[in-house]
Subunit: 380 residues, 2 copies
């Protein structure tokens, strides 16, 4: 993919930098790890520091001093999930009931109407409103190379009726996003690309309907959203199997929220996906969960805070070439985590992101040499 | 100064890495900032991860992957200050009363006898005992290039009687430290140097007595300890003025705890001091207090969390060449601090330490060209 801030080799895992920083790292770290593109989030950046401030810097690249590509999520997912009082940190949006109850439940903190969404800030409770047009205008000011249509992400447990209602609204919003985008797609002088998002929950009939609608519109790329995506890999695979024949060959495909475990990367790449992001590698790192090859752990990760690593002089993973593994022992990491030292989170984050991005390099090489399935087999 | 892990150009400010890390930085950062020597702390490292673990790594250099010189404080200051329930984070040890009351007060968590000190861990309340011999044996295992005699640091408000009693005990302990050190001064195969510590509180008669005793012993360097040192610069200057004529020309001189403000560095260097350390630059950085030249602020620092920096596109200090100032704006730093992002503490720490170490480079150059006082004048 070619963008104003450089080319992106696909398939690619994209580290998440929600609030204008990939947590615990600076942009120099990201370059060294080999990050080609990172994510920002429209919802968080709108609340703080605000898109107008970022606009005066000439966009997020300058504000955070990252001169490679950036993608911003539209904030749709966050408006609904952070607005739902029943949402917890470690799960995606959860909701049960019929269409009316569900809509009403959302309205406790999030009020949806045909025109847009009114919601309260998770920081100070202040009232904000996103319409499709406003979400695009904010993303123009933030200035990411790739921006996302404003969608409603329904919970997996949503009834067919409510999921359909939300999906159809999302399609109408998608058309409005395209119209708004055309007015100012070069806000900072370079082109921003707009991706549409396929919704439909776990109802394959809706997924097919949504794919047909979204791929029929003038988007630069096609994303697949939903509570299950990445979070429930069995459902994700099923949805992707359904969608695969419907996706155009000439547009990038992006699964939103995939990348919890190394094998997840293989699963989506195998199904033709080009881009994916997930907070898991960075969030798990900050809790001391670091990735390893399968011969070290069946789960592809170890908890470095476990007492058994107290005296372990080996690196996290002997086969890893990241800064952490080439400079520090498990025992030192274990000590830093026990002492709640900031450096612990930094070193673990460097490792987890390097582990994923280096695996993506291997996957791209394998694809070039037509041995993707062989590589997958080696990792299984 | 020549050590097994490299030479140290003096005078030098030494960043504090209490628990085997200078908080928020990795050792690569420290190299880039130009750190020549860093501190570790015997008290903290004894409690976690323990000197025996560090010993199996071949010492702290290998454990934390820092291959330049290290100095460890003996833990005396921490045993007394962290053992005192009335101590708070931002002050040194405080205590009032006559000799007996004071001794008794200490005994609530810290019991001193002629042979050593029994104290409780600040982490889990477990009982530990340091004798001069044990403090030296622990420091041999930790393996710093410069280690410190085990002393009792009395509060400034100590009566003459109690300060004298503690000082005399410190002198007897000093002799025992030297004896113990001679048994194993090359524990890891390279030489470790032992420094003695002058105490005596703010009583000049005691300071003179202590200087005479400590300089008369076979120490490799002479440190000046006490609650006031660094914490109260007027008292520090007075103590140094008293001690200056009594210190040998051929041994390094170290004021323990100096380096709160840039001008403090000038004050001790002017009085012939070679080495000093302080947690202030790193601790203040983590709270958003960053150093600047005087034309920016009379206090030589600004609070970057202040709302007036929200839209400020300039670096912290235009004249600073650190990574933070050459890559990021005040507005970005302000944003990171408001969002409690880990990167905030890292970037601010890089700046504050670079600011101090670069000033020390300028001071050394000025001394070489006989214009130290002119440089001081420029900074005042």
């Amino acid at each position: 993919m070619h963008t104003a801030h450089g080319d992106i080799e696909t398939p690619i895992f994209m580290p998440v930098g929600t609030k204008a920083t990939v947590k615990a790292l600076d942009t120099n770290d990201l370059e060294k790890i080999g990050a080609q593109i990172i994510l920002g989030n429209t919802y968080h950046l709108h609340l703080r520091p605000g898109e107008d401030l970022i606009d005066t810097f000439g966009g997020l690249h300058t504000f955070m001093n990252w001169n490679k590509p950036i993608l911003t999520d539209s904030g749709g997912f966050q408006v609904f999930s952070l607005g739902d009082v029943r949402n917890t940190k470690n799960t995606k949006l959860r909701n049960i009931g019929d269409a009316n109850t569900e809509k009403h439940a959302h309205q406790s903190m999030v009020a949806i109407d045909e025109d847009g969404v009114t919601f309260r800030s998770y920081i100070d409770g202040s009232e904000h409103r996103f319409t499709p047009e406003e979400a695009i205008r904010i993303q123009h000011k933030i200035g990411a190379d790739i921006i996302m249509a404003f969608d409603e992400c329904t919970p997996d447990t949503a009834s067919l009726r409510y999921a359909k209602e939300a999906m159809e609204r999302t399609h109408r919003w998608a058309a409005r996003c395209i119209d708004e985008h055309k007015k100012d797609s070069h806000h900072h002088g370079y082109e921003q690309f707009l991706f549409g998002i396929i919704q439909g929950g776990n109802h394959s009939v809706l997924r097919i309907e949504s794919a047909t609608a979204i791929t029929g519109m003038d988007f630069d790329g096609i994303a697949i959203g939903g509570e299950s995506i990445g979070y429930n890999m069995e459902a994700t695979k099923e949805i992707l199997n359904t969608l695969l024949p419907l996706l155009p060959e000439d547009k990038p495909r992006y699964t939103m929220g995939v990348g919890f475990s190394p094998m997840d990367l293989f699963e989506v790449v195998e199904r033709g996906i080009d881009m994916f992001d997930c907070v898991a590698p960075t969030r798990m790192a900050r809790n001391g969960n670091v990735y390893v090859h399968k011969h070290i752990s069946e789960k592809y990760r170890i908890d470095i805070t476990n007492a058994k690593y107290r005296e372990d002089k080996t690196p996290i993973d002997h086969d890893c070439l990241c800064y952490t593994c080439t400079h520090h022992s498990r025992a030192y990491l274990h000590h830093l985590f026990r002492e709640n030292e900031i450096l612990a989170q930094r070193l673990a984050t460097i490792h987890n992101l390097h582990f994923f991005l280096s695996l993506m390099t291997d996957i791209r090489e394998a694809i070039k040499h037509d041995r993707f399935l062989a590589l997958k087999q080696e990792w299984m």
